[in-house]
Symmetry: C2
Subunit: 343 residues, 2 copies
C-alpha cells in the first residue's frame, strides 16, 4: 500500500508551495483560479486527503462534538441521538459517543471530557452532574449543553422537558375520564445517577390530585426501574380490594409492566383499568399505550443546535429551552366504569 500523499507531495507535483496548496484546497480567495484548478487536479490525481489530525492541531479545533449518553438502558436514547445527529449532520463536526452505564464511567467522563484538547463541545444527555463537578463544568472553557437534566444545571445551557407538567397532564387526563382512585408507579426517587424524572412526574401527579381534593399518597408504588419490577410493584397495588381504577406510570417501560400485571390479574384494559405511560417510545404505538409525549427527537435536535450556537459564541446568561409535553391518547385509557368506584 503506497504511503498516503501529503500536502507536500501535492505541492511538489503541482509546482507550487504547500501554502498555496492549502489555500487552494480550502477555497481561499487569495489564490489564482488557474492555480487553484491545477492544484485541485493534482490533489485528485494523487488521491490526496488532508490529515485531520494535522488540520485539527493546526487549527486548534477538534471539529468534534462529544455526546455523553446514559445509553440504551433507556429506550429513549436512540431517538434523541437521532435528533442530535440530524442537527450535526450538515455541520463540520464529527459525533463522538460516550456511553455511560455505571457511575464510575460517568464520573470519568465528567472529569476527562470537558477539555478543549478533547472536544469542541459537549452534549450531556439525561445525566445531571454530581455535586463535586458542578463548579468545574460551569467554568469549563468548552461549551456544554445538558439535555433532560434539571438538577445542578441551573447555570448551564440546557434543554429541558417539563416533567412536572407532564405528570400533571397525565393525571388530569385520568381525572377527566372520571377516575378518582389513581395509582402511581415509578422509580425510587434516590438513584445513583440522580435521575429526577420520576420524582418530578410524581410531583405533577400529586399536584393534580390535590387540586381535585384527592389523597396523593393513597396508591403509590416505587421501585427499581424496569418493566419486570414495575409489573411486580403494580401487581401488589392492583390486588388491593380498594385498588385504583387507573394507573399513571413514570415511564412507558413501567407502563408496559403495569399492563402485564393487569393481564396476569385478569383485569381488562381499559375497561377495568386505565393506564398512562410517559415518553412515547416506539412501542407505545403498537401496544396502543396512552402516554405523555416528550418529543425525544426534537430535544436532541435542539440540544445539538444550541451547542453549535454556544461553540460559535457563548451566550450569557446560559440559554434554556423547555419542550412542553403533550398527551397522546391511545387505547389504554377510558372513562371510569360506573357502579364500582367509590364516591
Amino acid at each position: 500500500m503506497a504511503k498516503r500523499a501529503t500536502i507536500r507531495d501535492v505541492a511538489l507535483r503541482a509546482g507550487v508551495s504547500q501554502a498555496t496548496v492549502s489555500r487552494a484546497l480550502n477555497g481561499s480567495p487569495l489564490v489564482n483560479e488557474a492555480t487553484k484548478r491545477r492544484v485541485t487536479a493534482v490533489a485528485e490525481e494523487l488521491d490526496f486527503a488532508p490529515s485531520l489530525s494535522a488540520r485539527r492541531l493546526s487549527l486548534g479545533k477538534t471539529q468534534t462534538v462529544s455526546v455523553v449518553v446514559s445509553f440504551l438502558t433507556r429506550p429513549q436514547a436512540a431517538e434523541r441521538l437521532r435528533g442530535i445527529d440530524a442537527a450535526l449532520a450538515d455541520s463540520e463536526f464529527d459525533l463522538v459517543i460516550y456511553n455511560v452505564e455505571t457511575v464510575e464511567k460517568r464520573n470519568h467522563y465528567f472529569q476527562s471530557l470537558p477539555l478543549r484538547q478533547r472536544t469542541d463541545g459537549l452534549l450531556i444527555v439525561s445525566l445531571p452532574p454530581p455535586d463535586q463537578d458542578v463548579r468545574r463544568l460551569e467554568q469549563s472553557d468548552v461549551p456544554i449543553v445538558f439535555i433532560d437534566a434539571r438538577e445542578n444545571t441551573t447555570n448551564l445551557p440546557r434543554v429541558l422537558g417539563d416533567d412536572v407538567a407532564g405528570g400533571e397532564l397525565a393525571t388530569q387526563h385520568l381525572l377527566d375520564l372520571g377516575h378518582r382512585r389513581i395509582g402511581f408507579v415509578g422509580d425510587a426517587f434516590s438513584n445513583p445517577f440522580a435521575f429526577t424524572s420520576s420524582r418530578d412526574r410524581f410531583e405533577g401527579y400529586k399536584r393534580a390530585l390535590v387540586a381535585s381534593g384527592l389523597d396523593p399518597e393513597a396508591h403509590v408504588a416505587l421501585g427499581a426501574h424496569g418493566r419486570y419490577e414495575a409489573r411486580d410493584l403494580s401487581a401488589r397495588m392492583l390486588s388491593d380490594p380498594d385498588r385504583p381504577t387507573a394507573v399513571f406510570a413514570a415511564s412507558d417501560t413501567q407502563a408496559l409492566g403495569v399492563l402485564a400485571a393487569a393481564q396476569d390479574l385478569g383485569l381488562h384494559v381499559p375497561d377495568d383499568l386505565s393506564v398512562v405511560g410517559y415518553d412515547d417510545i416506539e412501542a407505545c404505538d403498537f401496544v396502543g399505550l396512552t402516554t405523555v409525549r416528550q418529543h425525544l427527537f426534537e430535544s436532541g435536535r435542539q440540544g445539538a443546535q444550541m451547542l453549535i450556537t454556544e461553540i460559535n459564541e457563548r451566550a450569557v446568561p446560559p440559554p434554556e429551552v423547555v419542550i412542553h409535553p403533550e398527551i397522546v391518547r391511545r387505547r389504554t385509557t377510558a372513562p371510569r366504569k360506573e357502579g364500582r368506584g367509590q364516591k
Copy 2:
C-alpha cells in the same frame, strides 16, 4: 479563561525537558522514579491534559473507530451499537458515529471515511458496499469490518448472521406446529441500500416449504419496510378465503404489523393465526412475539472485537464469523387448529 497548560509549561515548571515530561506521563520505564513523581505532581498542579490532536498527529494514529450505521432509529441498530460500545469501552478508541439514512450519505461516507487520515478502523453496519466501491474498500489501508452485510463483502472481514437458516428455522417451527398454509411478509427485494436480509429469509422460508412439499409462492406479500406497510400487505393476504394459518414476517417490525392486521380482522392470535417475526427486538418481549433471535448485541461486540484485532494486525484471508440465529418461542405461535386447514 487561562490558556491551557502545554507540555512545555510542565517541562519548564518541573525543570526538565519536554521529552522527559512526555516519557514520564506515558509511563516510560526510562525515566527515574523521583523525576516521574515530580513531573506528575506539576502536571496535576497545572491541570495539564495533553492535546489529543497533537498526540494523534505525532503518533500517526487517530485513536478513533468510526461506525457507519444505517437508520440509527431502527431498534436493531441501537442494540448493535451497544455491543460495539461494550467492546470498545476499555480500549483506547473513541467511537465516532455516522448515521446513514440516504443513499447519498452512504456513498459520501464510503468515499471519505476509509482513510488513514480519518480513522484507525471502520465498522460498517447493515450496509453492503455498492459495486463501484468494492475494490477500493478491499484495498483500503484502513481496516474495515462489515456487520450484517453479505453482498459484496466476500473478501472483507465480516460478521454475519445466517438469514437463510433463520428463515428456515422460523418456517420449520410453523411446520412443526402443523401449519401448511404459511404466508411470508417481507421487504421488496430490491431497495436502494441493497439490503438482502428479507430476500435471504425468504430463501430459507422457501427451502423449508419445498422440503415439506409445499408451494413456496402461494402466500407471499412484499412491500416497503415498516409496520403500517406490513399491516396493509398482510390485511390483504389474510382476507383471502384460502388464507394462511400462519405468517412468517421478515422482521419484528413487520410482524407487529401483521399482528395489527389480525386484530383488525378479528383473527385471534395464536388460535386463528400464528405469527413469527425476526430480530428479537425489545418489543417482542412485551408483545409476546415468537421470533428469530439474531443476537444483535453480540454481533456488534464481535464486530468491534474483530476490528480491533484487524487494527493490530490484518489477517489473511479476511476473518469471518457467522452468528447463528435461534428461535424464541413466545405467545404468538400455536399448533394449527384442526378442522379448518386443507389436507
